[in-house]
Subunit: 457 residues, 4 copies
Amino acid sequence: MTNLHTLKIAYIGGGSKSWARSLMNDLALESRISGKVALYDINYEAAVQNAKIGNQISQLEEAKSNWKYEAVSTMEEALSESDFVIISILPGSFEEMASDVHTPEKYGVYQSVGDTVGPGGFVRALRTIPMYVEIANSIKQHAPDAWVINYTNPMSLCTRTLYEVFPEIKAFGCCHEVFETQSLLAEVVKEFLNEEVAQRSDIKVNVLGINHFTWVNQASYQNIDLIPYYKQFVEKYAETGFEKEEGSWKNSVFSSCQRVKFDLFKKYGVIAAAGDRHLAEFMPPIYLKDPETVSSWKFHLTSVDFRKENLKKRISENEELAEGNHKFEINSSGEEGVKIILALLGVEEVVTNVNYPNKGQIEGLPLGAIVETNALFRNNTVQPVFAGRLPLDIHNMVHRHVLNQESALQAALTKDKQLALNTFVNEPLLTVSREEAEELFDEMLKNTKDYLPGWAI
Amino acid sequence: MTNLHTLKIAYIGGGSKSWARSLMNDLALESRISGKVALYDINYEAAVQNAKIGNQISQLEEAKSNWKYEAVSTMEEALSESDFVIISILPGSFEEMASDVHTPEKYGVYQSVGDTVGPGGFVRALRTIPMYVEIANSIKQHAPDAWVINYTNPMSLCTRTLYEVFPEIKAFGCCHEVFETQSLLAEVVKEFLNEEVAQRSDIKVNVLGINHFTWVNQASYQNIDLIPYYKQFVEKYAETGFEKEEGSWKNSVFSSCQRVKFDLFKKYGVIAAAGDRHLAEFMPPIYLKDPETVSSWKFHLTSVDFRKENLKKRISENEELAEGNHKFEINSSGEEGVKIILALLGVEEVVTNVNYPNKGQIEGLPLGAIVETNALFRNNTVQPVFAGRLPLDIHNMVHRHVLNQESALQAALTKDKQLALNTFVNEPLLTVSREEAEELFDEMLKNTKDYLPGWAI
Amino acid sequence: MTNLHTLKIAYIGGGSKSWARSLMNDLALESRISGKVALYDINYEAAVQNAKIGNQISQLEEAKSNWKYEAVSTMEEALSESDFVIISILPGSFEEMASDVHTPEKYGVYQSVGDTVGPGGFVRALRTIPMYVEIANSIKQHAPDAWVINYTNPMSLCTRTLYEVFPEIKAFGCCHEVFETQSLLAEVVKEFLNEEVAQRSDIKVNVLGINHFTWVNQASYQNIDLIPYYKQFVEKYAETGFEKEEGSWKNSVFSSCQRVKFDLFKKYGVIAAAGDRHLAEFMPPIYLKDPETVSSWKFHLTSVDFRKENLKKRISENEELAEGNHKFEINSSGEEGVKIILALLGVEEVVTNVNYPNKGQIEGLPLGAIVETNALFRNNTVQPVFAGRLPLDIHNMVHRHVLNQESALQAALTKDKQLALNTFVNEPLLTVSREEAEELFDEMLKNTKDYLPGWAI
Amino acid sequence: MTNLHTLKIAYIGGGSKSWARSLMNDLALESRISGKVALYDINYEAAVQNAKIGNQISQLEEAKSNWKYEAVSTMEEALSESDFVIISILPGSFEEMASDVHTPEKYGVYQSVGDTVGPGGFVRALRTIPMYVEIANSIKQHAPDAWVINYTNPMSLCTRTLYEVFPEIKAFGCCHEVFETQSLLAEVVKEFLNEEVAQRSDIKVNVLGINHFTWVNQASYQNIDLIPYYKQFVEKYAETGFEKEEGSWKNSVFSSCQRVKFDLFKKYGVIAAAGDRHLAEFMPPIYLKDPETVSSWKFHLTSVDFRKENLKKRISENEELAEGNHKFEINSSGEEGVKIILALLGVEEVVTNVNYPNKGQIEGLPLGAIVETNALFRNNTVQPVFAGRLPLDIHNMVHRHVLNQESALQAALTKDKQLALNTFVNEPLLTVSREEAEELFDEMLKNTKDYLPGWAI
Ligand SMILES: [Mg+2]
Ligand SMILES: [Mg+2]
Ligand SMILES: [Mg+2]
Ligand SMILES: [Mg+2]
């Protein structure tokens, strides 16, 4: 029995500018658990700053629990005696990310995010995997019984690496993309059934696929099958797209009008359950042919320059916060991390979607591959819920990515450049010639070589 | 969307003297659904009588919903347009059951129930399977979209036959044995933690195995792991047994003091989650060596004469009830059938144990075998929850029964007497010589030959 | 026991202009078996002509056995009481084939054969599958115990269809492409070891993959591992290509200089064991980018006009032969059909490569998919030999085709145009935009619509 | 390329009194290979003696090749630079073997061999597995590329242990029991077809099962299916048994009249392909009920006293031989070890039965379990041949033993006495009460405790 008020959470990547704040808020809003959070980051100063912010949040009147935040200087220190480990790191700097996203543009290959699949996601994976090897080994040594929650992308390969290195690890990955789909379905209910859905989780969905290329083949609200209503919704909004506030998609590079999602439904008959920016990258360059095409589908390419600007803002905001110059407001993040922690502590059981090794929950995908389905969380257990089989045509696309991820992992672990290249060229987004693909690959590898020790680059 | 107040339930075996009453009670206590129940039984009069009783219950003041009961004379009539099908039949008469249970006693083979495994369960399966072939074909034709809930034993083989004949069937089997284990664990909480568990389902268990030979390898209450407490409990009560009221086990042939369960924990380290009478039959004759041994383990052989007497009582009680000579009281049965029906109608989701084809929820057992694990019930879906792998020594025992069940099914479907015999002799309870086993087999087959058309007996 | 001298072979597609002759020759050269051959063809006249030719061959002095050839007018007549069934049909006419091969050229998509994968192979499959459904049903009814040998392309899908319709069928598919690889390895032995290999089959190879995209990861001659020598060979000839007679590749559209094969070895490290024309079609348009690229890799696009011309020649040649105006010469065809028939008759056992459902002989590919590996042929049995696992990067490419083939089959069986389209766009050769792909698909379907009854075209 | 005349064979258990001689003879009769044999034995003197004998055999005029034998004092010395490793050890002394075979007799449990399954085989396994752990580790370190041939019993568990410890090992196990079945089938051919089979291997059999409980479901000679003839043969000889020379079975404790084999065919319809002494031990005590029953089935219990006497004779014989006091004769042993070595050296390919991890060659048995089927041996490869699925009733019996073997392995590796006991009681031969089984287990463990370091005995 774990004492609910002396918990220790280790946060790897604890200098993070966004996820860390979400966690701090959500913890502060939950009275049933408390304890301390050890923040570890290769940028120690950032962790120190976050600790300051966290401790101030804890002091706020609205805070329902008192968590103590502390920056630590080694991973071991963070992990030792922790009950939970949260991993949310930036693999490399914005320089490498800029190469991931923008180098392919020279070859006419556009990516909306560049952190999961596509040339950018692939190269990001190559440099992230060794970091996760190190983390997994450290967890094996210092916190083998802790629950490990991953938030870093590429989600599937990060989680897969943890299990490859330490098969007994108690790890899974969380992502909020499916929540958006539930919210969208709540809009469908509103529109066609004239009912206000009380909370997102009242929309029941069967989730199956892989992270950011996740599908929903069953959706219901109470005793209402939502698939036929979604079909009508798609028919109505396929061309214009759907937004809560008209035109608002233009205000944020992270927004879209769901047109990619609707088009995929028209083509494949099942709900694609991730944001358009992610979905587009798993397909051949239908939606990402060029910037004009992207605009016509009403979503955005996210430039790394934008991210840099954005980060600057957040850094100065954080500085202000850390120094106590700003009044905080505690808002629930919409993430489920704390809810899941509660379930793992036996406080209340929850069924939600999660990235986890395939134990058979998706039929036809290889056992051990990291897949996204619902799981049942209870005291000290996560148990995937059987999700069935994807429709054949979607299965084939998903399976292709699963295969690429497996060989990307092996290439990264063995530093096998030829295997890496032979996998890289399988990315559906990459329809350039083999010669160009090889050239691009070489250039991208060079740009990230600081994080690829031991490779023949 | 199914209308929650015009439901149709088909009840195959609707003349039943016990399960039918449980259902009537539970339906009457649930205000959120209503409709009609078609009772079909080869004994039409019994169905008529139950219809009368059911309709009277519906009229009672305490009844929260108004269900209409009707006896029908064909299975087709019952099934047509039904939303749910409940199957709870007596395969054959008490004469055949008497042979199942008592013929082996001539050879020194004792059985406490004789309806699941052992020589009795095996022969019962041979005669039940053709009935389930007929039912499955009828469902395929008349109610292919209905949800089918089986209560008949042998549970695994009945459910397995449904899927063999009609693979797209939406069927599962329910049994309350695990609930008793949860209740026992609630007693453990009371004894060692001094806390009163509000409801049985607050005890969370991971269920895995096959019906009546089901195991629990994880059990918790809130954030408390109950396994170490169960261990203490077993140590304390292994010799004396455990009862809520001392000596009460002697008052009912269905009662026990859990000594078999405790002994299995001592031998195998995991909680056996069924009644002692069932568990004993899956093992070699450790607990069923002879009547004295049975008594020493503080459980009972259930004689079929007793069942006959018991039935007579219930029949006359029913007659009284049907004629309206008695005041009814509506009591919840403790079964979960109605709760599951509610979940399948999207009213509220539930996680509970169920008998269902193995989709991988138990690692290492053949896919398609009927296994018992938790499942998530939601609007129009049942999804098994991944349960993991049994400890090797238990796995071996369970697997042996799974293999026997598969060849029993094939023997029954092909009327292959040699295969049947070669399977019969694999029953762990049967340690007589091969010659005696063959003789016993012949005798038992002869006794049940009215239900084995086409066999060379 | 089958009488070796009263055999009956049914030949479906018995009007064939090439395979039929190969069989006639090989049968005539084998003294240990004899009997009759029933030739069935939708072009009855062509079958009659072949029967005449066959019977003349039987009369020749060099003929070691006397086979009787007869044209029959129904498939049933051919199949009844047959011991072996050979299937070698032309699915559709040259008009459809012309569309398969040349319509994609309008979109810049070039194919060297167009009968296996790529847009042409895919559409060919859609029209061939219904024919194979009919053949399989006829075999099930009229010759369920016969051995069935398929020679038609697309090999994998033809054979897969036979098993889908009649799972107990005793069928497999034969293709000579691997033999060419053995012959090439014999050249390697000659060049580097200065030894003349007596016969092709003395080169032992481990075969794994799918038809026409088959790989050899182990090759030996006596106790010599040939892989290192093949590596040297590739290094020497990668640029120039290899031919026995210099320049001879230009004399036949079916010839090549193995440059594709060598390049694949350089990229993937394992021997690609099919002709360059076939291999190129399984890859993205590396080798088939445009006609100039094809020439630079020293192989050919096979135009259907050429095939038409070629056929005309063969027809007039056949007419001459049928009328007895020509002197025959009996030459062994180099095919292994008769050798395998001998093995299945218990005359002598043989190990050779074959297309057969995956029973696990290739690890990691789905069970039931038609794969190509070695098998052991003995009296009345074919047993695949365990071949292991492909290297990850090759596995991914092969698996992608396997997945496409499975959904092509389902699309063809259910006449599901959307599924067909969603599969079509997965062809690696097709890197045009989604819009163009849809347009091309529609055009190609229209061109073959005579063979797609029931489709919404 | 391995030089065929500078081979090195390591012989673990090189002091052996019988297998070593077989190998020496077979090597001497084969001209195509030569080299040296390093004999390692914990009894160094015995190895020295065998070296002397081996070198004398090499000198004989009839010897076709010159092998040099040398006794070495460490396993490392034997293994280093070896091309082949042969393992044939006696695990423990005759004292432990006497306990294995005879201690159960006190409880009425009789065993005819006691080295594979049954209480004796089980306990033998417990003490052998640690020895194989050591051997496997040594091979991993000193001869990772060598081919390893196991002859020690329990065959399945010895081979399984090698793979558990060193998964990349190139190991398999050889046993001659199936050969006897081929010879018996040659007698069937003689009797009913009046033909003399030239060599045993002309009888083609499909082998499937586990060592000593191996089955043949297809058997042919040329184009003749032998199963119907075997059926007649069994009908004729079931009661009397079959012998080449009448009454000869009484002259050797290793002989039988095949009555067990015939009875199993009558019961299960498939040929049991091992000696009666082995087969009987896998079944419940049908054939081994008591010594009288054994006699009535016309086979023998092999007492360890007999083995001791027998060994004494062989020792003195060996001494004479070693001293050169006797004239040698070189006779082929009938074993296939050398033939397989030739195949692995690329000299000539062979298909024969072998014990190897299940890669899917037997459907329905767990992957990785050591099963016995045919395999194709070629230059540096062994590849199992797909054997199909056992009939359900036999499958169940075989599977039960496979499960026991897996948990025996785990018990031995983890020294888990409770798991060992829970596995021990699953032995079909053991139908005593649980109490007696526990007592017997304790006694047997104590008797072998010198070989169970680290166990809580
Ligand atoms: Mg995400
Ligand atoms: Mg029950
Ligand atoms: Mg071909
Ligand atoms: Mg043996």
